[in-house]
Symmetry: C2
Subunit: 228 residues, 2 copies
C-alpha cells in the first residue's frame, strides 16, 4: 500500500537553515498494518509523516501510495488523494481558530461535497466518539489542549480514511483519555484501516504490531511484534 | 509564596460556552517546592496554571503571590510581576512565528530593557542548555515539535525566574530529551526556584516532591513524596 524508496528530504537548500532531514528512507507498509514510529526530537519523524500524508514531496526518491507515484501527481491530484484516502492528525493540531469544533471536523466532508445535514451528523458522531459531545460549539481557544487534540483526531477520522497518519496523537492526553483514543485506533486497525502513528511513549507503541525507530533521518530499527 | 484561596474560574458567563472550570481551589505552595499537577483532559490544569501565571484572573477567590494580592494589581503591575518573577512554558508554546528561536528567547529580556549584546549572549546560553545550539536562526516553522517546545522552555528560563510554571513541558519530547529537560528543572529546583509543572506522564511526576491531582475543577488529592 505504502512504498518509500530511498527518500531524501532537504529543507532550505542553499540557505542558512539547510537541513538534510531524511537521508535515504526505504520502507514498505502493507494494508491493515499498525505501525508506530519512534525516535528522538528532531530525528525526522514529522518530516516522514508529512511525506506519507502527501503534504510535502521528497527532494529525491520515490513514494508509491496505492500503486500511484506521488512525485508524478499534480497539486490537484495530491489534494484529492489526501482527502479521499488519508486522515491526518497533526503534531500541532492545525485547527481553524475562528470556527467551532463541529465545523472543524466537518471540513474534510465539505471538500467532498457532502450535504450539510449529512456532514453535521457525521461530525457530531466523530466528536462524540472522542468524548467531546459537550464541546461541539466551542472554538479551539475555548478548549483545553487535550480537547483540541481530540478535535484533530475526530477530524482525521470523520472521512473514514483508508490510512490514518497520527503525529503524537496522545501528547496532550492523560492516561485514561489516551487509552480511549488508542482503543478507537485499534478498532479501526481491526476493521482494515492502516494506522501509522508517531509517539514518544512506549505504552502507546505497545498497541502497534510493528515499530520503526528513526535517528538522524534514517530508519535504524524495524521490528515486528505482538500488539497489545 | 503562592496562596490560592477558594478560587473559582467561570469562562463565558452567560454565553453558550459557559464552563465552570475551577470550582473552589485552595492551595499553598512554599518557596523551593517542586509540584506536579496531574488530572484528566479538561479537568482545569491549564486554567489553574494561567491564574498562577497572572495571565488571567479568578472569577472569585484570592491569589497571593509573594505576599501581594493579584486581584488588586493593575494590568501594568501584573505584566511587571510576570516578567520579573515568573517563567511560563505554555502547553501550545506561544512562540512568535516570524522571528528566530534566538529572538523568541530574547523576548523576556527585551521587556526588561537589557542591552542587545547581553540579551543575545543569555538567549544563546539558554538555547544551548536545551540542546538547540544548532537551531538558533530557525523560525518556529523550521523546527520540529519537540524543538519548538524546547525554545519555549529556553524562553521561560532565560530571565532566571523565581517561579517556573510549565504546562506539559515534555509532551512532545522523546524520553532521552525529556530526561535532559527534567534534569535541568531539577537543578533549578535545587537552586531554590519553585517549580510547578503539569504533566500527564507518571515518569515526569516522579521528579516532584508533591503531586496535586485535579478533577472537574477541584483538587482531589495532594500528596507529598520523595522525589526521584
Ligand atoms: N475560553 C474558554 N471558554 C470556555 N470554556 C473553556 C475555555 N477555556 C477552557 N475551557 C474549558 O475549561 C475546562 C478546563 O480547561 P483546561 O484547559 O484548564 O483543561 P486541562 O486540564 O488543561 O486539560 P488538558 O489536559 O486537555 O490540557 C475544559 O473543559 C475546557 O473546555
Ligand atoms: N522548514 C524547515 N526548515 C529547516 N529545517 C527544518 C524544517 N522543518 C524541520 N526542520 C528540521 O528537520 C529536522 C527534522 O524535523 P522533524 O519535524 O521531522 O523532527 P521530529 O522527529 O518530528 O521531531 P519531534 O519529535 O521534536 O517532533 C529537525 O532537525 C528540524 O530542525
Ligand atoms: Mg515531530
Ligand atoms: Mg491543559
Amino acid at each position: 500500500l505504502i512504498e518509500l524508496r530511498d527518500v531524501h528530504k532537504i529543507y532550505g537548500q542553499g540557505t542558512e537553515a539547510e537541513v538534510h532531514a531524511l537521508r535515504g528512507i526505504t520502507v514498505a507498509i502493507t494494508r491493515g498494518e499498525f505501525v508506530a514510529i519512534m525516535g528522538t526530537s528532531g530525528s525526522g519523524k514529522s518530516t516522514l509523516m508529512n511525506l506519507l500524508g502527501c503534504l510535502d514531496r521528497p527532494t529525491s526518491g520515490s513514494y508509491h501510495l496505492a500503486g500511484r507515484e506521488i512525485a508524478r501527481m499534480s497539486k490537484g491530484e495530491l489534494a484529492e488523494t489526501r482527502n479521499e484516502v488519508l486522515g491526518f492528525v497533526f503534531q500541532n493540531f492545525n485547527l481553524l481558530s475562528r470556527t467551532s469544533a463541529l465545523e472543524n471536523v466537518e471540513l474534510p466532508l465539505i471538500y467532498r461535497g457532502e450535504k450539510s445535514k449529512v456532514r453535521k451528523a457525521r461530525a457530531k458522531e466523530s466528536l462524540e466518539r472522542v468524548g467531546l459531545g459537550q464541546r461541539m460549539g466551542h472554538t479551539p481557544n475555548q478548549l483545553s489542549g487535550g480537547q483540541q487534540q481530540r478535535v484533530a483526531i475526530a477530524r482525521a477520522l470523520v472521512g473514514k480514511p483508508e490510512v490514518l497518519l497520527a503525529d503524537e496523537p496522545t501528547g496532550n492526553l492523560d492516561s485514561r483519555t489516551s487509552t480511549e483514543v488508542m482503543a478507537l485506533f485499534q478498532e479501526l486497525g481491526e476493521s482494515g484501516i492502516t494506522v501509522v502513528l508517531v509517539t514518544h511513549e512506549p505504552d502507546i507503541a505497545e498497541y502497534a504490531s510493528r515499530v520503526l525507530v528513526v535517528k538522524d533521518g534514517v530508519v535504524v530499527s524495524d521490528e515486528r511484534k505482538t500488539p497489545k
